[in-house]
């Protein structure tokens, strides 16, 4: 079965540093998402992306966050200046048809020190 792949699986960074989390969605999917999960807590929506632009974003997704689909296959989440509270598992997901199931990657565990 096709998979969403995420790299790296773990990322450790110093507070204030920039990080880029990478995702390769399933190739024929049209809708892309980033979610995050702080340890032991619920899965929180960050941003959705369709037709090469952000279609919706949450309050968490402030000016420090950005997303890109630079080459038609990769989908990246950038955090410009990381904070301690950005430490979480970040999940990428893709979707073939709106309102259908999401396919999630295995996540990137981000630790901000």
């Amino acid at each position: 079965e096709p998979e969403v792949t995420q790299t790296p699986s773990h990322q450790v960074t110093q507070m204030g540093q920039e990080v880029i989390l990478r995702c390769v969605p399933i190739s024929n999917h049209l809708y892309f998402y980033w979610y995050r999960q702080i340890l032991g807590q619920k899965v929180e929506f960050l941003v959705s992306f369709y037709n090469n632009e952000i279609s919706e974003k949450s309050e968490i997704f402030d000016d420090q966050f950005s997303v890109e689909r630079p080459d038609g296959s990769n989908f990246t989440l950038k955090i410009r200046s990381t904070k301690l509270e950005d430490s979480a598992m970040y999940f990428c997901a893709s979707q073939e048809i709106r309102n259908e199931k999401l396919f999630f990657g295995s996540g990137t565990q981000l630790s901000v020190l």
Partner: protein
């Protein structure tokens, strides 16, 4: 908030028993989905039930949806130790031109003891 909220927060049963998890939500929906998450891993889609459906089966899974009560239940029959995981319900918003996103509840942590 349209969030789904699952209960119980945690459930511990013996292998072979049935496990029932419930989810409540607040707004009108297009569909409701259930996902499973093994510890520290990504979420895996289990089943999707549309707002005009009342019950759906997939293997040992049975999902019901009551849109009048804005609630759903997930039943896992004849549970196995390998079913140990967290289970999340997720809803989308049925609004015109509305949200594409799924909103997840806090999850039920299921432990199946051998």
């Amino acid at each position: 908030s349209q969030q789904g909220e699952e209960d119980p927060q945690a459930l511990s049963i013996q292998e072979g028993e049935n496990a029932t998890m419930n989810c409540s939500y607040k707004t009108s929906i297009n569909n409701l989905q259930w996902y499973r998450q093994n510890s520290g891993r990504g979420l895996v889609h289990l089943i999707l039930i549309r707002s005009n459906e009342r019950e759906k089966h997939s293997g040992r899974l049975r999902v019901t949806l009551d849109t009048s009560k804005k609630s759903s239940s997930l039943l896992i029959t004849a549970s196995r130790a390998a079913d140990t995981a967290s289970y999340f319900c997720a809803t989308d918003a049925a609004t015109q031109g509305g949200s594409e996103k799924l909103v997840f509840g806090k999850g039920t942590k299921l432990t199946v003891n051998p």
